[in-house]
Amino acid sequence: MLGVGAYRTRKQPTRSDLLPVPIGEMTWTLTDHLGRSVRPADWAGRPVMVFFGFTWCPDVCPTTLSDISLWLEELGADADRMIVALISVDPERDTPDVLADYVSNFDQRILGLTGSADEVAQAAADFRATYRRVAKDAGDYTMDHTAGVFLFHPDGRFVSIIDFHEDRRFAVPKIRRTLS
């Protein structure tokens, strides 16, 4: 089996290159909306749900966080041990204070995470998420970004992604599978 890797070409990434690495193998450090430093090891033994976004985002991000809030309400106390985090792809504008303001509008279990440009880039690389700054008029900009919601088992294994446009009714059963 080890030989398979030798035949891999750069043009055709294997499936494992496209999927997030297990939480335990991630190397990022980020800061949460309360100013606390967070590392992957802090999430050991907990189910994890992560979404990449930014607070200047008018449509996808509040919609996803509304959905996540509804899912968490439906799951109730079962989801209390779950780590639920929004990782900002716009650290320039999304300081911990800005994130604190933003996440206060949604379920209280949702953490906002940000960091330096390099720290966010490392987190995105670990999750195999992508983002790109798109210039607009007068120095303004928006961000393109991976829109799916990543789910991880308590042992750190990646479970699945809830795609932005998939039927939201399937989300809660998917999340439940990470809780047991």
Binding site: V60, P62, T63, D101, F106
Partner: protein, 157 residues
């Protein structure tokens, strides 16, 4: 006194009712106009609405204008290969005999350069420009940042 109470009741209930208001122009029916509260005026606001074309001629939404924002534009959220982007939409087709929704995750109005933060419970006017039907103004309800749509008895979900 009775009239006063009735008037007071109408004013109190007005914010919740406006998004459920129906406005027509020609063969077009416009309803469920809503927006989400913003944190401050620095972030863009959003505008959602539902348009039904009961006629036999295709039309298109070609622009929006509002005193609430300096640069309102039509956008579409597109998710391709898992990546969300928000290209500017030159126009949004409103085909004959069809219902078109500007709704979360799809077409939407993006309100850049807000003149003031959009507060939950407030409302503001938006004028929609249609290629054929012309212009019509609707009242837009500002719902919470968490809202998924107005709570109208007849709302299409």
């Amino acid at each position: 006194m009775k009239h006063f109470l009735l008037a007071a009741a109408l004013i109190l209930s007005a914010p919740a009712v406006m998004a459920c208001e129906t406005v027509t122009i020609g063969d077009l029916t416009i309803e469920h106009a809503w927006s989400k509260a913003t944190i401050g005026a620095g972030r863009p606001g959003v505008f959602y609405v539902e348009i039904t074309n009961a006629g036999s001629v295709d039309d298109a939404l070609i622009g929006i204008a509002t005193p609430a924002a300096g640069m309102p534009m039509l956008h579409e959220t597109v998710v391709k290969d898992g990546i969300a982007s928000m290209p500017h939409a030159m126009s949004i087709p409103v085909p004959a005999d069809q219902n078109v929704q500007l709704s979360p995750g799809g077409y939407h109005g993006m309100l850049m350069g807000l003149t003031t933060a959009l507060k939950e419970g407030a409302s503001f006017p938006v004028t929609l420009s249609f290629e054929k039907a012309g212009e019509v103004t609707v009242n837009v309800d500002v719902l919470s940042l968490r809202a998924e749509g107005p709570d109208c008895a007849d709302a299409v979900q």
